[in-house]
Each structure stands twice: as C-alpha cells, then as structure tokens.
Symmetry: D2
Subunit: 310 residues, 4 copies
C-alpha cells in the first residue's frame, strides 16, 4: 500500500504540478482528479486513441465552449456525442448572442416578463432563439431536399458547422476538422423544435438510426478508445453502449455530480459499465464527483501540460 502524501502547495505553481500532487496524495476527490488527469494524459499522448467526448448539462452556457473547441482543433478529441442543447448554445453564440452572469436567486416570473431564460445562474435572452430559428431555416434551405428526406443529426450538424464563420464555434471547428458531432436526441432541444416547425411545410425527416451507423463505424475503426464523459445523460449511455461492439473502451473518465444510489445511468459508476461490456475489465477508469466547470478545465489543463512536457 502507498502512503497518503499530504499536498504541499510550495512547488505547485502550475496546474499540472498541483494536479500531480493530488495524484500522489491519492485519495478522495483530489485523488480522483489526479487519476483522471493521468488517464486523459494517456489518451492524449497515444496517437492510437480515438477519443470520444460526451456532453450533457450546461457546459456551453457554463463557459466550457472554448476548451471543447480547442480540444477538437488540436486533434485531441475525435468524436463528440452531445445533447442538442449544448449545440444550440454554441449556435446562438456563433450568431452573436451571449450568455450572461445572473443569479440562482432570481425571481423567475420577472425574468419571464423580461423575456430572459434562466439556466442556473446563467441568463439568456429569448431573442437569441428567435434569431436562431431564422438562421437555422436559412441553412436548412441550403441543404438539398433529397438529403433532407433522410438525414442524421450528425450530417445536419456538419452542414450547420460549415455555415458558421465564428472560429470559436464548436460546430465550425468540428466541421473544419472533420470531427463528427453526434446528437441523436437533438429533437429534444430548441433547435429540435425549430426543425419540427420547418418540417411542417417543407421536407425534413431526421433519422437518428443513421447516427448509430456513424458511431458504430467509428468504434469499429478505432485501435483504442478513450472517453471523457461530462455529466451523464443519454450521451454517456449512447457512446458507451456503442463501444460494446468492440468489447468496451480502454480508458474512460466521467465527471458528474450524480450518484449511484438512485439507480439512474447518469450517476452509475464506470465499474458498473464493466458488467455491461462498455468498459474493458482491464481498462482504466475513474469517476470524479465534481462540478464539470471545476474539474474539466483542471483535468484538461493538467493533461495538456503533461503531454507537452513529454
């Protein structure tokens, strides 16, 4: 057995140094941050890895957009499985709207009267979604009707990404880099409802079974699979289950505030995933119980520092 090594902040100037001390400490939440950074370093440093990033929760509204975009741009992430909402919020920023620092203690009736939607302590004006609707319709119009007859979310999000000029956009960067953005549950998002309205008059059939085809192809082609899971939800299950077609992922970390006890998949440990063949028995995995807006920047910064040092 190894000793718990107490963290000393002297000589822990850089993020990588601090996280490395957490890893040596080795227990509780800090120990898990350390282990997660080690696992992500292994994924990022080894070119054989196909790295999946799954997004659920208020990540783009919560300030994680640039980090996701940079990981795609710098070839560290090779496929993104995401809730529709995170892409909706990438789109509205791409067309010029912003998220605002608000408060959890808001009076929601007043916000409604001011046409402001609240996400925790984040505000966004409803105008953003009206702007989104007009903009998304124009993009749909550019897509050939033949394609719209049977389109996956992945194909649709690629078309959208191609039409974004904002270099900070996740969708634009993914389109540029050829990184698939897969969102078979996108129908449940504000954009998803816009798609439905468009489909009232025009041809549009969304077929998420095509997304499954895409993700299984990626899985089949991968030498090794790494997965960074932010926040649970269906993106976690979908990406993990697709990997049962190759006997599980080799490396995985998940960052979540959900817990196992209520039984839902979002809070399930990655140990449980071994029973299903989603994670290899000999694989390395860790669950970090932490707000993703704290743990994700911390772990990624440390992993990048580690990779760049090598």
């Amino acid at each position: 057995m190894k000793k718990v090594k107490h963290i000393q902040l002297e000589n822990a100037q850089t993020v990588g140094e601090l996280v490395s001390k957490m890893n040596e400490c080795g227990v509780l939440g800090g120990g898990n941050i350390g282990k997660a950074a080690e696992i992500v370093t292994e994924m990022f440093a080894d070119k054989d890895y196909t790295v999946f990033l799954t997004l659920a929760g208020a990540l783009v509204p919560g300030g994680m957009r640039q980090i996701v975009r940079d990981l795609i741009d710098q070839d560290y992430v090779h496929a993104v499985v995401t809730t529709g909402a995170n892409m909706v919020h990438d789109m509205v920023e791409s067309i010029g709207y912003r998220h605002w620092i608000g408060t959890f203690l808001a009076e929601d009736t007043e916000l409604m009267e001011q046409d402001i939607g609240r996400i925790g302590d984040i505000y966004i004006e409803q105008d953003a979604f009206k702007g989104l609707e007009e903009w998304i319709i124009k993009i749909l119009e550019k897509i050939p009707e033949k394609v719209r007859e049977n389109i996956s979310t992945n194909e649709l999000l690629y078309e959208i990404g191609k039409n974004i000029s904002d270099p900070n956009s996740i969708l634009a960067t993914a389109a540029k880099k050829g990184v698939p953005i897969i969102s078979p549950g996108m129908v449940d998002s504000i954009a998803g409802f816009h798609l439905w309205m468009y489909g009232q008059d025009k041809t549009l059939n969304l077929n998420p079974l095509r997304d499954t085809h895409k993700i299984v192809d990626i899985v089949y082609d991968a030498k090794k699979v790494g997965m960074i899971i932010l926040g649970g939800g269906w993106p976690k299950h979908y990406a993990l289950f697709a990997n049962t077609f190759r006997e599980g992922v080799d490396r995985a970390i998940q960052i979540t505030m959900d817990r196992p006890e209520p039984g839902g998949l979002s809070g399930a440990t990655l140990k449980e995933a071994i029973s299903w063949g989603k994670v290899k028995p000999e694989g390395k995995e860790v669950t970090v119980i932490c707000d993703a807006t704290i743990a994700f920047p911390l772990i990624v910064a440390a992993a990048l520092e580690n990779v760049n040092k090598k």
Copy 2:
C-alpha cells in the same frame, strides 16, 4: 404565516393520512411530499386535466412498472414521455425475463463473465436482450414497409404494445387505452441499437420529428396540463418545452435526486421553468428531492386515496 405542525403518527394509519400530516407540517422534504400529493390530487380529480408522466432513470427495473401501468389503465395518465430504456425493460419483462435483487457492492468483472448486467443493485441477464432482439424483429416484420419508411417512436411503441399479451405491461396497457408513449430519444437504448441492426438490411427510418408533432398536438388539445416528472433527463425537457406552445403547464411535480447547482436541466427547479414559459407563473409546482422509488409510490398512493375519498 402558518405554524410547523409536528407530525403525530397516531391516526396516521393510511398512506394518505400520513402524507396529509406531512403536508400540514409543511417544511423540508416531508412538506414537499405533502404538497406534491396535493397537486397530484388536483390533477387526478379534475377531468379537464391532461396528465403527462415523464420517466427517466431506473424506474421499471426499480419496481415502478405496475404503478405506471395502473395509472394508465385507470385513466389518470394521458401521455407518457420516457427514455427508451424504461420501455426496453417493460418489454423484456413482457416476454418473460425478470429483474433480480442484487447488490451495489458487486464485483462487476464477475458479473460480466456471468453475462449479467448491473443497474445499481438490480441484475438482469444478458439473455433478456438477445430474446428482446429476436422478438422485436418479428414485430418489425409485421409493420408494413411503407410505415417503416418514416415512423415515429410513438407509432412504433404502439405497434409493440399491441403485440404484448402481458397485462402488466406499460406498453400493452397504453396501446389498449390509446395513451401515447413518446420516446424520441429511443435510439439510445438497447432496442434502439436493435432497430439500427434491423435497418442494416431492411427498411427502417425512425423520425422523431413526428413525435414532436404528436406531443404538440396533445398540448394544443389540452384544457389544463398536469405533469409528473420522474428523474429529469430529456423526457423532462421535451415534455416541458412542448408546453411552451400553450404558455406552460398548470400543475407540475418533479421527483429527483439531482440538484440545481451544477446547472443541468435534470436538477433545475420548476421555478426556473417559469422563466422559460414551461410552467405558468400562476401555476402550482413542487420539486421533491427524493429517490423516486420512495416518493413516487408514496405520493401516488396518497393522491389516489384522496381522490377516492372525494
């Protein structure tokens, strides 16, 4: 202001009596259980209500199947929005497989070797899903190819429900009663992957935009809307957002172990939903922070007792 009335167990023989004392007590978790039962009683007692039930998390595996089925059968629930997984587990029980009482402390590598999948402290043999695949293919074969060219999850789940003889099945009961089961994210479920495999050789295009059409129709037709939200996830968002087309629901309860602080929608309060127009400002709503397998039976039993007394 009202006094906190201490709960006295004498004369709290029935579930309804106990929950009514929690309501009079009026504070913390017990107070919320009491208020939730009051709100659900109002939904169930008033024939003008269209009642939505949303399901996310291990509800069918966790023993809630019969309660859901009975609420549909007894005309208390008029539309169900559910993760695919909950319907998968309804199906496997319908064709004779069972869920088993296991333990959270399982050795998952051993379970994998024994072909057992774990959901918290619930076990299920992998054979169930092989059985499911064969069975579901037979049902798909019965559906005319023309229909399979562009089918909603709601239409598909109705076809499946019609083919189930188990009277305890949610899907069978819903089909019998004409209650729509809507699951636009069903592609992310084991059955969803079976659908993809079927579609490799045969015609099958799943189109969840048709589900949006269905749910919006229900919303438009409703005089009053009540909603019982179990466990967050996209079913919560999808069902609530559909109700922005009628300026929000009139009554809602949610039961969840998720919390607001990390910012994800699953843990968001129903107050936050007011800012988005999902819940009416003058509506009644309560969030119960509790394991659904505790709170749901408690609240429903109390509400039914109240309704039957009237």
Copy 3:
C-alpha cells in the same frame, strides 16, 4: 436470487402495507426503506434491545418532535444522543414559541431586519432565544452550586426536562421516563452560549467526559443494541464509537442525504463502520439516502404497525 417484485398500490392502504411492498420490491431507495422498517421492527419487538436514537440536522424544527417524544414515551427508545440545537428547539417550543412555515427563497437581509432566523424553509423569531435565555437561567439557579461545579450535559438536560410542563416536549418526556439525553457537543448551540454567559458570573463547569461515562455504562449494560441514526454529525460517531466497547451494535439504520465520496463520517456507510468495530460483522444494517422528514415518519409508522400486529 429474488425477483424485483413490482409495487402494486392496490392493497397498500396502510403505511405498513406500502412499506412492506417496498421491502418485497427490494431494490434502490424503496428497498432500503423496506429493509430499514424490518430492522427497526426487530429492535422494537425484542425487549432485549437497548435502542439508541441519534439526532443531527433540523429535526425538531422540521416537525419530528412529536415522533421522537412518542418513541420515548412508548418505551421504544432508551437513549438519545443529540446535537444541542435539537434540544434548544425543543425548549423554545416548550416555553411557547413556534417554528413557522417559510421559504428557501427568502431575502435573508430582510429576515435579519425582522429578527427572524431561517433554517431552510423554516422561520423562528429571535425573541424565542431571548426568552430561552431568561428561562434557562432560572433553571440553572435551581441547580445546587455543588452540582454545577462539574455537570454533564446529560445531567443538565435532565434538570431542564424536569422543569418543562409541556407534555409534548422531548426533554420533559425523557426526564419523566428516565431516558438519558446525551449531548456532549451542546456547547455548540444557542443554549451553549447562554451557559457560557451564565458561567461568566456564576459557577458552571460543563464536563462532557461525564457524558462519555454515561453512554459507555449504557453500552456495557445492554444485551443487544439497536441504533437509529438521523443525519450524521458527531451524534452518529459518538454513539457508534461508544459501542466499540461491546464489539459493535447488532442492528442499525441511518437516514441521511450525505454520501460516502467526500470521506466525512456523516456520509459514511454502515459497512465502513464494520471495519471500526462499531457495527458487528454479523449485524444487520442499512443506509437510507433520503430526507429524514420523509423517511423517518415512514419507517417508524411501518415498524409500529408491524409491532402492534404481532
């Protein structure tokens, strides 16, 4: 292995019937409620059991006062280990003040200006504590100076209990029944600060080591020990650790919203307690992750129904 038996609300009229169905269901939170009721039934039905109740968190403010009082009065609980705060709130109710139903969304600066203290969604006027101070001084005056020179919290709370006429008081009922109320950390409570102020001019030395003597005596005298742990904190640790002098408790349940991951004792499982000799390896225990104002009335009502049926 046993099947997960789906809960059916028909024939679940009484609380005991519903909880018994949760027990048969056997998984997740509902299953734990069922198991906890079974364990408490065993404690209550067997006269060989010395039953400890530990109280931490807003239990008296939260409406649990009468249940605790009744369990003492009806000889089901034989020793109480409690935070000072819960006894402070028993005292203020005993002298006529009340707790009020408020809201979590209060403007706290306004409450401060109105001399109202907030505990979650519970309000209490500051006058209550001024009244408490005057009242407690009068009781201290009645205690012989010789006794005040070296008094345990248990002795002090007994003196206080003897001076309360309110039959609904926990302290009064415990004094009447000879059930010890042990609160070695009572110095951290509003009454604890009143004691300090009294001790500025008068003789008063609180000696919690005398409480340890008391609790260890109870442990040594017990044939079997059962423990109901509400909410963690030092009462949980103190009561459990005292039982290492007899190789652990035989039966224990804990109800808490705390979790194991951060490492604190409040969220530690009762399995962890086995490693310390606090719970017997062959003992029966269960942790219920639930708001105590929901789970405690439910479990106690079910256990009493079971006991009365036998």
Copy 4:
C-alpha cells in the same frame, strides 16, 4: 450584466491564472471557485483580518494536513475550529503512523479482522490509536493536576502541540505560532475516549465553556473577520455563532458537498447565515459545492499566488 467569458486554457499555466479565468467566466461551480479565491485573497492580503479556519470531515486523513499547517505557519490563519478527529489524525501522524491509499470497495469485515479502520478510500491501522493512547497519557501526566481540574480543549491541544516534535504537525505549528486550536466537541473523537479512560483514575475535567470564552475573546478583539469553512458540522456553527457577538463576519467562504434542501446547518447557504447575524449583510461570501480535497488546494494556491504578486 457581465458576459459569461469562456475559459481558454492557453495562458492558464499557473493555478492562479486558471482560477482567475474561472472567476471571469463567473457562473456555476467554476465561477464560485473564482469568487472564493478572490475573497480569500482579500482576507490574506489585509493584515486587519483575523482569519478563522473550520475543519470538519476527513481533511487530515485526506491529505490536507500540510496546507493547513503552512497557512498557520505563514500567518494566514489565526484560529482553527476543528473536529476532534482531525486533530487525532494529526497526532497519529506526528507520532509516526501513516494513512494509506485504500479503496471504497473494501470488504470491511476483512479490514476489521486485519485491524484496519477505513475512512472512505483511506486506511489506518488500529495500532495507531493504541500508540496514541499511550502517548497522550504521558502528555496528560505532564499537565499539573490543578490545570486538569478544569481545562478547555484549546488549552489541552496547546499542551499536546508543545509536545510534538514533528514540524509538519498542525498542532505543533499552532503551538509554536500561538494560534489557538479550538475543539469543544473533542470529546467525540478517539482521543476524547482516551481522555475519558484517563479520567477514570486520575483528575481530568474538560470544560468546553472555557473554549467559548476563548473564541468570543478572539471575536471581540478582531478588526475584521474572515472565515474559511471546510465541510460544515459543528465547527461551522460554533465559529459562525461566536461572530454574532460582533454582528457577523466580513468575508466567508465554505466548501462543502452538503446541500440546503434537507435543512441541516452543514448544507445551509451563507446567505441563510445573514438572517442570523452570523455574516454581515454587506459582507462577501460564497458557497462552493465541491469536495474539499479538490477545492481547498485550488483556492488556497490561487489566493497565495495573488497575494504574492501584489
């Protein structure tokens, strides 16, 4: 309103730079980390501040010992209010025992047979506590009987600190620097039970009212008060309530995984503390929902970097 500024990891090499970007981002958990570092920087940079640190939970076992010790040594922390357990674990390390990296998935019956106690994923051999008992008795013997007749925990812990030669000890460093360690609930700790056993034959009366005298004196003498609250429990309440004697603290941060909904003080917001006069209405405060072994090193490292830059 300010925009949510997306975190960019480029130019976030040092911990202070990353945390400063979290502060600019300004929302959810990351935003709270940023705000907390800003508040702690204000406390540390202004010599008028008396800074309290409260400790509850597995902080010393969890690797936080050195950081606490260094903050005392470097004159940033002026009073510590702590559970007895954290000081017990400081003592056992001081006399040569270690904490070990274990696992949450341990078989606790086996650990018990091996005389190993478990704290989450941390192990410690029971020998450590036998060693502690012998050692603590020797120290008690050195204290004059007259003093032992009526001693505070603060006085006792000072005597213990003086007898520790390990320079990494919190107690030794606090004794050297004259920083009071206050632990009125120390009776609930393994050392507390050793004190009781000693008192069976010898004179020893612990009087925590003397601790209250000490803490109120510190409060009265302070120009400004800052407070860093780790993990809730009675240390949080005791330190905050003492500050009602000066109309509340000026700056406070708390790091906890507990939440407000169940009503216990550990999870209560610092906003709630305003209603009680524990925090000044015009004070600055933030609650960080995070594992302390992640957030505490992060916030302290960032604050020290900020202070050293000035």
